[in-house]
Symmetry: C2
Subunit: 705 residues, 2 copies
């Protein structure tokens, strides 16, 4: 640390002490190792602090807002009253990592009044065993009816220069690799500048990072900051002060630089802080789900987790294309588009995927590029791109749906909006009626490109409302939805149980269309960051790890084949793609057996080992069955671990089928080498697992009858 | 003229001469008194000039564009080729001022290529007997596919310091009174600052004015600049150079300051210049209609011009309200809105209007405030305001429609969007199906407030496209539409014959809710400005001209009663409201007879006398009938005129019923004094008409059988 920095920190600590010399203590609540303190500063600013095992984790941090028209809800507050409440209940998700979720917290409602204006502000805190959630509530009051949030002033003042796993605070994209630096080193400028993207990049503050933000202190405390139940509000990014380790809420703006248009009574999303000295606790936490509202419907029998294949990777690797024609502006002599002969979404080709599915215990086929408009869909900021109901001439919807149904397979709809949300909204009714008419149970949506309404961003309030409108429309039509390029999730899958998954991160596809691909550590970080908010459609399961893209033969995935299998367990999602080409699976049918077998819905989950950026081992029990599945992954470094199988049901015998890296496997030199072994195990057994550099291991535990 | 100004103009003329010393003449075309010259400057900038009776009207003026990414389509052009074409044809509008429209012009297509880039630009000119229209066309070409217009650089260089009738170049409103100044005096800052409005005002350039812009030169030449067929492009305002009288196209921007997102092949709207030494020629011109595309449908039998009354003025004058409750945020003990007892749109009240209509040869009843949401609809920039299908509890749609139908009356739907176009677009299908279901043949839409998408303006490209989407949706559902607070019209009523009228100007309503109201000259200017683009729903026919608003008893209309009658003829619209309360009509049933009788669709129109800002006299012949109607109005100065009735059908006798100002009438002191006389006339007769200060005269000519 430079002398200058040390001085700044000293001054900062001194200021805080001065400040708190005159503070008014409001209240404190605690649960297990977590303690929360609330105060008002001498200036009447509400301040909170969090400690873990009696050590400060969040130093005193201010709360409040700057509003438009020079109003604020920040200082000059006095305490009106507080209320506390204790809750301990259980609930069952429609689908998820566990069958039963405990919701156990202490609640503190703080009622504040601004002396100068009489304005009222409530702050509601919930303290769980693993962390804290709080949100602002704006009660009905004469002086605050419709109002505009200029800035949210919430601080998260950290107590040291923590190791941090971060991506830039981009208003439009989460599709970055993670940087691992100290808080003092965070600067996203270089990363933003070098990023290649299929989407737009807008990251004007080089000190801003996205949430969920994962940190680890020098003394081994893991801290995760995110938000829960992001509705009718922009995404919260965090502006990092490199000197005093203070993070400040930075909301994604609209065209006018305004943050949120609110109407009392209303409230913000929950700001969440998870803390533990066990990394596994962070992953096991259900606090974010608990802070979301219950499901909007009880009629959920139509919501079914599923695996699926897709007419997709073949386009990613250049074997075919989304577009039917290469000449969007000129038609042939017959007045029709001139086919380019490379259109993947054609009836015959799709039937091959259906046939493959039917033989593979996979129930869905996603087809991209089926509808007209792909000739010039990308990068033009074009408003009227797709109509979501008009297939290309070589795609026979009726026949494909008939054929799929005859084999017990469901077709998955694809609605790419190209970022033109206005165009999609105009056609939502038509699009979802079309899905109902032809029996599509699920839709993958996409937002590749700059947003229309122009001036809005993917992560701003308007688009947050848009995603909810889409989820609601899908719910109304009994369609499951998987959104690509939306705002990152915040646990809303509890409220909208048909909102199965999102992309909102750098997925496997970057291994196809970027030179860098995803680093070997990428999937060890995702669960601690992006996945904290909800399932990701990462599209795992690539078997051909080198030479898959003829147009860029040097590209390879930074993973072994066994690791690709492990991702079905370590990257939780109720919809999991088997992303590679059928022929690549058929060539390694023994390894593909794991993808056939692995479940997508679970009764129980055990986070066995975890270290962000390094490794992760998870075991899960199949929903309504006795089978367990285990996935273990590592970063670029090989790893050996002994895993106790004590999670297995006591007294039961299991056949463990172990899909491991071969002894000579290496994610760079020999990624596709694997070996499959079987052994009989029980809860008293342990497994000795050896993971190659960039490797992984997947295990099926089939209960012996 | 100050010495400084004279010097600037000399320099300016000198520059032009230098410029044109090296120019390349491209072509010239002419029709009757209008001549158009096209050149390329030495720098390769396309330049046009217009003369009238051999006197320059538009001095050499540059054309072209600045595009995004530092591209331009302005200089370095060379001429590739030109084509000419002559057209003389006739067509019949679905409804209009005349039965038959002649479309007679010389066309010149100029094909340009930019030397430096190879980019192609076409400019198409059409020269009519009364003026010039031109537009830019962007052909399909490799270097220009999707592109963004940063600025349009079209100039209109006037040749003198003309008298000009203008309103500010506001991005969101046309609801201003007209200023009459010299070009050198134009500055809108004071007008914008003092304006009261129900809408938003955004006029950042105090030298910008709205079109249609009406001017008169010192030597008596009338010049009108506007545009035709505004589709997929922002409205063109004009930036005025006070010193050299050069107007430059100034397009309404979006959130990013961008003007238009285009995709070749595409084109701009037509830029129109009308010129005549007769003011009446300007009003009689059909050039703007001729520059629009023919009707999109031939199935137009359901499109019917009509008069209507409305549950509307009673709210404007404070007798009732749009809102059902005064407490939007709190419900009564029954869980329902608490009625305020002042809600005008209730079933019993609406039936009174239906009864009045049935006795009055008026076929429509508009009801505002019928649907839920009016408690907090205004001024909150709120996105989800109205749903367009949910009536207030005291408004029984089914019963009202049944009752109206039983009396041969049509109910007119009202869809106020509050500027939230996104919300309206999401519900368009639902809203228009509702109209179809209940048999509403027409809808009045409204856009009071700041636009959502936030960052867009009423007059920008996105909203221009929105209005067209609404017109198309209405066409699809066979609904006539009357838009309030849209972009000002540009003749699109030809293409969308169901797009009956617009507001887009300062209507009669300002006499209710503003202290200033509309000045006496207002309606003598409107036909030369706003109405050049299309019909206006001005809502004439107020009979109670003082003391109508109990809450502001000092307010009065700046018009006599006879002038209110005359407006049904002078302010053309196929939908005309009888705006006052039934009781005020019943109190002056003899005068109301004119409103009962006057037609709303015409076989012929004669502009008999006109001087913008001073007076206007028009005669029109009823569609398919022998009857003629005449309207004459004046400004604040009384006027005497002798009108030859030579327009009447030769050899026919007519009973002329003359609704004139009483001899002691005066718009300020005695506005409601009128006298009605009858006489028998024919085409050889003339009428001696005396108009009071701020007065008018209306005449029915009923053919004697």
């Amino acid at each position: 640390m430079s002398p200058k920095k040390a001085m700044i920190i000293l001054i900062s600590v001194f200021s805080m002490q001065t400040l708190f010399a005159q503070e008014t203590k409001v209240s404190a609540i605690a649960m297990e190792n977590i303690k929360l303190d609330i105060s008002l500063t001498a200036a009447g600013v509400p301040v909170y602090a969090v400690s873990y095992k009696n050590k400060p984790v969040i130093a005193p941090s201010e709360m409040g807002f700057a509003l438009m028209d020079a109003k604020n809800l920040h200082s000059n507050f006095v305490l009106l009253s507080t209320e506390t409440r204790s809750v301990d209940e259980n609930w069952q998700p429609v689908w998820g990592e566990v069958k039963n979720i405990r919701n156990h917290y202490q609640q503190l409602n703080v009622h504040l009044k601004q002396k100068t204006t009489g304005l009222l502000l409530d702050i509601v805190f919930k303290v769980f065993a693993e962390g804290v959630g709080f949100r602002y509530e704006f009660p009905v009051q004469p002086g605050l009816k419709y109002f505009i949030v200029a800035n949210e002033l919430t601080q998260f003042t950290l107590t040291g220069d923590h190791k941090t796993f971060w991506i830039p605070g981009d208003y439009d994209s989460n599709e970055y690799p993670y940087s691992t630096t100290k808080l003092s080193e965070i600067d996203n400028a270089a990363m933003v500048a070098k990023s290649t993207s299929i989407s737009t990049r807008v990251a004007p503050d080089n000190k801003a990072v996205q949430t969920p933000l994962m940190m680890k202190s020098a003394d081994g405390v893991y801290i995760n900051i995110h938000e829960a139940a992001l509705l009718n509000y922009p995404a919260m990014q965090l502006h990092v002060n490199n000197n005093n380790y203070r993070l400040t809420s930075s909301l994604v703006p609209d065209a006018y630089g305004n943050k949120a248009y609110l109407h009392a009574p209303s409230h913000t999303p929950w700001r969440t802080i998870l803390v533990s000295d066990q990394a596994t606790d962070i992953l096991a936490s259900k606090m974010i789900l608990n802070l979301n509202d219950p499901a909007k419907t009880k009629n959920t029998s139509w919501i079914k987790p599923m695996k699926f294949v897709g007419v997709w990777w073949e386009m990613q690797v250049g074997m075919g294309g989304w577009n039917y024609s290469d000449f969007p502006d000129s038609l042939g002599k017959d007045g029709k588009l001139i086919p380019n002969g490379k259109h993947s979404a054609n009836t015959a080709n799709v039937k091959k995927y259906i046939d493959f599915d039917a033989a593979s215990n996979i129930k869905g086929v996603l087809v991209e590029g089926w509808n007209t408009g792909w000739e010039d869909w990308f990068g033009n900021w074009k408003e009227n791109v797709f109509d979501f109901v008009t297939p290309y001439p070589d795609y026979d919807v009726k026949e494909i749906v008939r054929y799929a149904k005859s084999k017990g397979i469901s077709m998955i709809m694809h609605n790419e909006t190209s970022g033109s949300a206005t165009n999609y909204e105009r056609q939502l009714d038509t699009a979802y009626k079309f899905m109902n008419q032809f029996g599509f149970p699920a839709v993958k949506t996409g937002y590749v490109g700059k947003i229309i309404p122009r001036g809005e961003h993917h992560d701003g309030q308007w688009m947050v409302n848009h995603y909810e409108r889409v989820a609601q429309k899908a719910l109304d039509h009994k369609v499951m939805v998987d959104m690509h390029e939306p705002v990152r999730p915040t646990g809303l899958q509890r409220t909208y149980p048909n909102w199965m998954a999102n992309e909102a991160a750098r997925g496997n596809e970057f291994n196809a269309f970027s030179d860098d691909g995803n680093p070997a550590e990428h999937e060890t970080i995702l669960p601690f960051t992006r996945l904290m908010g909800g399932p990701m459609d990462y599209t795992p399961g690539i078997f051909k790890l080198k030479g898959y893209a003829a147009y860029a033969p040097e590209r390879q995935l930074h993973t072994t084949l066994a690791k690709q299998l492990a991702l079905y367990v370590t990257l939780y999602s109720p919809v999991q793609m088997a992303a590679d080409l059928p022929k690549n699976y058929l060539a390694k049918a023994d390894a593909f057996q794991f993808i056939k077998d692995v479940a997508v819905d679970w009764d129980d989950t055990k986070i066995l080992e975890a270290e962000p950026g390094d490794y992760l081992t998870i075991a899960r029990k199949e929903k309504g069955k006795d089978n367990w599945f285990l996935g273990g992954i590592t970063d670029e470094h090989g790893r050996t671990t002994d895993i106790s199988l004590s999670f297995l049901d006591k007294g039961k015998k299991y056949t463990a089928i172990i899909y491991a890296d071969a002894s000579d496997a290496d994610f760079q030199k020999n990624p596709e080498a694997y070996k499959i072994t079987k052994q009989t195990v029980d809860a008293n057994s342990s497994l000795h697992l050896v993971l190659a550099n960039g490797g992984g291991v997947a295990v099926s535990f089939v209960a012996v009858k």
